[in-house]
Symmetry: D2
Subunit: 90 residues, 4 copies
């Protein structure tokens, strides 16, 4: 069972929390809150997003690369992971 | 006028697009989409968030540090900016 | 043959270039060059380091995870890679 | 006095430590050490570089933007800082 299915409830809760943070940015912009508040909210979303992404990437590495069903699937997963890592290691 | 007020409509549009991307992650998890899709969606949100944050930080630097109303306001803004930068330069 | 052995000359050239950049920072500090110069030099090293790291990580993923000699070696390599990725995805 | 002059000895010590780490990467490549060792060394340099950069950026923000000699110098420093921040917030 894929990691994102096994941990579905926990991952969904984290995504919804981030959506709530995004809505807080929306409200801050609409109500013309101090620019510093918007900046701090964005920094906190970044932290939450990094935490979620780190967990999903690690789950992907173990589920689809380490425990691939066959060598073709493993190679495809390794390539997909490499593509995503390029957006982070820069 | 603060940068986030002057550019309010444009910034709100970007935030709402990111919220839409977040909802796409939510649907992907709910529908038990392939783990790789979730990973790619999260990477694209990261890019959008970085772009928005970079603009808000730069607006803050110019609006509240460079063109502060007085030296006390400038010092407070510089400290708030320094705090946020620590979460990025690591 | 490991990626870092096969690409040894190319990787060594990149590391020596970065060492040269680091020596430029050293000279800038010693000669009390403008602070902005030191800041720009550090930013350029970061870019070079990210490029080199991205290549080594990708080589590692393919060499030691995808084409591991056996399942034990694969599991160890996946864990080592996961550990390194945690320092980047944050 | 500029931050990089006032803290010269401390900053030079950090740069020389990083140069030592870079030489360790050089030796690891030359001696064909395990690829994982190279990867871990690069990750540790990244951490050291981020710490040094964060300190230099913060010193720059306070020295050259907050306490600029005049408004022209302040505007130039703010622009130089904005340029460097774009390489980090992405």
């Amino acid at each position: 069972m894929a990691h994102t299915v096994r941990e579905k409830a926990k991952l969904l809760a984290r995504v919804r929390r981030m959506k709530g943070q995004m809505e807080a940015v929306e409200r801050a912009l609409e109500s013309e809150a101090p620019c510093g508040d918007v900046m701090q909210l964005l920094a906190s979303i970044r932290g939450a997003l990094a935490g979620l992404t780190s967990e999903v990437v690690e789950g992907y590495l173990h589920e689809h690369v380490l425990h691939a069903s066959d060598e073709t699937a493993r190679a495809e997963a390794a390539n997909e992971l490499a593509q995503v890592l390029r957006t982070y290691i820069r």
